[in-house]
């Protein structure tokens, strides 16, 4: 049905796809699996015409085809459901579905006809979707079905789903898989891009494993195992091993109790969260993305609207829950944010100015009357220290932060947050988009800080990372802490069950 042959794609100096070849048989569900950054999404976006390959060819139904835009892909019967939905929120389901291939005359759209057709399509697959509802009134799982309907309305024979389960609750994942199986019954072909092995095993007929932009294996799902796939994905038997002595925690640094966050739409993002973190230990938080981890870190850092948060946050026995982000920094809370491009860095500012973000309001950086002046020697000294201690390359403080690689950007952020000797370090996704060397460096630094007596709260969507680093592990689901385990004594399967509420698809 679809075949990629020797597809190569570069972004700048990153080789995203290195001679990738994938063959998808018609009437099957084909999984493409790999870690974040393995190049799976890139390959599929090339198949859908979102990107153009630097070299290689694409065959559809055995014929070599030029796919330069989504338009071409649609014409060839390829549909794609993106990780971030491509929906126009104030418009109705039907309007979204027909957009681009509207029925009726240009001067009078045949919306009643479209509504009927969409209703029929959704009933075939057992979906209960009202075509006249506005997208903004639908739940996430239903919005995803609108995306499926869009592809089916365009008579797609092949459907590519990019990380379709990332945003879904376990129950919704089950429903999605039922729909996908039904589509296979009707002769459609499905490609599902994911990094979750349980899903691969549950849904697919065949699986292609990618690592570092290359295809490293092709298996019939029935003939492989989670262990084999995991080995292929990471290229070694054990994913991550961090050398660390046992923790010697002392008194509590952070004590959270009853922390609840209700966002402006009335959703409970955090629900009665209570735990503590002691000096000299790393407490990990495991969970499927979007279950409240981001909100937890941002609430502790003072970055959410104070009106949305209730509960108590105590740092060294002092209530800090009502303090703003700056005051919390003054008290010794440091924060490595999950999205360094958006939050952690001023990409167009030079490294020196990035080194004072969060520290520009107090000595030694701010000096003189009213602490008005930024001391150049202090900034340069601070920057040099951070760049050297954290091996940021190139160590040129006049470069814009944008010009650094992901790993070096992250080391810069880490260095900046650690350099003032924080009492509590909040770390989210510390190694996302970081090369192997950088990952090891960052992990070592976290353990070092722990052993110096820093209290560390670590959130990561990489289960391997939290289990390897954490001394204690909290599991979060739907904004609630659903359990605490000793990562050394608990298998990943057990933790996975807790993360998904035992209803793994």
């Amino acid at each position: 049905m679809l075949e990629l042959r020797n597809i190569t794609k570069r972004f700048g100096n990153v080789l995203a796809n290195d001679s990738v070849s994938v063959r998808v048989e018609p009437g099957t569900i084909h999984a493409i699996v790999g870690e974040n950054g393995a190049g799976k999404s890139t390959a599929m976006k090339i198949a859908y015409g979102f990107y153009t390959a630097d070299s290689g060819e694409i065959l559809v139904a055995g014929q070599p085809r030029q796919i330069d835009s989504p338009h071409d892909a649609i014409a060839l019967g390829i549909g794609m459901v993106h990780q971030h939905f491509m929906l126009v929120e104030p418009m109705t389901v039907a309007e979204n579905v027909v957009l681009g291939i509207e029925p009726g005359s240009p001067w009078k759209l045949d919306m009643p006809g479209a509504v009927a057709k969409i209703r029929a399509l959704s009933q075939q697959l057992g979906m209960a979707i009202d075509p006249t509802a506005k997208i903004e009134t639908l739940a996430v799982g239903q919005q995803q079905r609108v995306e499926l309907l869009k592809a089916l309305y365009r008579e797609a024979k092949l459907l590519i789903l990019d990380e379709p389960t990332a945003v879904l609750s376990p129950q919704a994942v089950g429903e999605l898989f039922t729909i996908l199986r039904q589509m296979r019954e009707q002769g459609k072909t499905v490609v599902i891009v994911t990094h979750k092995l349980s899903e691969v095993l549950a849904i697919s007929d065949e699986v292609t494993v990618m690592r570092d932009g290359k295809v490293v294996g092709n298996r019939k799902t029935a003939e492989t195992s989670a262990a084999e796939l995991a080995r292929l994905m990471v290229g070694r038997d054990v994913l991550l091993r961090v050398e660390k002595p046992p923790a010697k925690p002392i008194g509590a640094v952070l004590a959270v109790s009853g922390l609840t966050l209700v966002d402006e739409d009335g959703h409970r993002r955090l629900d009665d969260v209570s735990f503590d973190v002691r000096a000299g230990e790393i407490v990990g938080v495991a969970g499927i993305e979007g279950n409240g981890q981001t909100e937890l870190i941002e609430a502790l850092a003072g970055l959410v609207d104070a009106g949305e948060v209730t509960g108590s946050v105590r740092l060294l026995d002092q209530e800090v829950g009502s303090l703003d982000a700056r005051a919390r920094r003054h008290r010794g809370i440091a924060h490595v944010p999950e999205d360094r491009h958006r939050r952690g860095l001023l990409l167009d500012f030079d490294l020196a100015e990035n080194c004072i973000l969060g520290a520009a309001d107090r000595p030694p950086v701010a000096v003189g009357p009213a602490r008005a002046w930024l001391s150049r020697p202090a900034i340069h000294g601070r920057c040099t220290r951070i760049l050297n201690e954290h091996d940021v390359r190139p160590p040129d403080r006049t470069l814009p932060a944008r010009s650094l690689s992901g790993g070096n950007q992250q080391k810069l952020v880490m260095g900046r947050e650690l350099t003032d000797g924080p009492k509590l370090l909040l770390v989210a996704q510390p190694t996302r988009g970081v090369d192997i060397g950088g990952i090891e460096f960052i992990h070592r630094r976290l353990v070092e800080m722990r052993d110096k007596g820093c209290a560390i709260l670590l959130v990561s969507s990489e289960l391997e990372e939290v289990t390897a680093l954490a001394d204690r592990l909290l599991v979060i689901r739907d904004g609630k802490i659903v359990g605490e385990v000793d990562p050394a004594q608990t298998s990943n399967e057990q933790i996975g069950l807790m993360m998904t509420g035992g209803a793994a698809a």
Partner: protein, 289 residues
Amino acid sequence: MSQILTVAFLLSSLRLATPLLLAALGGLYSERSGVINIALEALLLAGAFTAATVTHFSGNPWIGLFAAIVAGVAVAFVHGVACIRFRADQVVSGTALNIVFLGLPQLLAGAFFASTGATPQLPKGQLLPFTPMVIAFALVPISWYVLERTRFGLRVRAVGENPEAADTAGVDVARVRYLGVMLSGALAAIGGAYLSIGQASLFTRNMSAGRGFIALAALIFGNWRPVPTMLACLLFGAADALSIQMQGVSRVPVQFIQMIPYVLTLVVLAGFIGKSRAPRALGLPYQKK
């Protein structure tokens, strides 16, 4: 009060609302497609000057009106190229055009008529005192229909809210936006033509006098929807009519009545009376990956 609410007053309100309405409906097409159009002022001036000039030379106001539309579309096209093709800041591009048109009509008038900015007076038979008014109010239901019931309207709305979604669905985002911007040029230019060959009988320096901005205010006030936008234009037209009628008669200084549209808009923007919601992609250039 009864003295104020006369037929003459109502008529005068309608007349004064007409150029606002035409410019605001023009702005609506542009902004619903995601392109901020603060160049309405420039478009009004372009339409007004072209209509008066071409009518003077041709003796036919219909030709003048047509020429005004062509000029408006051309100026809007420049805005479109800057914003869509070259991803210029839309507010800056609009401001640039506004400044150009503070000078250009005078520059051309100087060359054509050896005047310092005005065009020659047109005879009464060469004016179009009613047609643009009819066009303006007829365009309100038409615009509603176009936006809600036609393919173009659907695409305009989609492109203004989520251009990436429209793009992946096979809609040519740039094309829809060009059309939206150029339509705004056409409509605003009719409004401009009404100023010079409808209400007045010649073009004078800066004769739009901020109406482009009031139209913009009406558009925001009307939540980027045709009927509420029309009501806002009528309100502002009535305020204008009132200020003319009260000149010299009342003790309320005319400046306060002139302020009404602007203060009302500020109040709306501050959320004191409902909240207006702009198209989500308004002002954001779209670049295909």
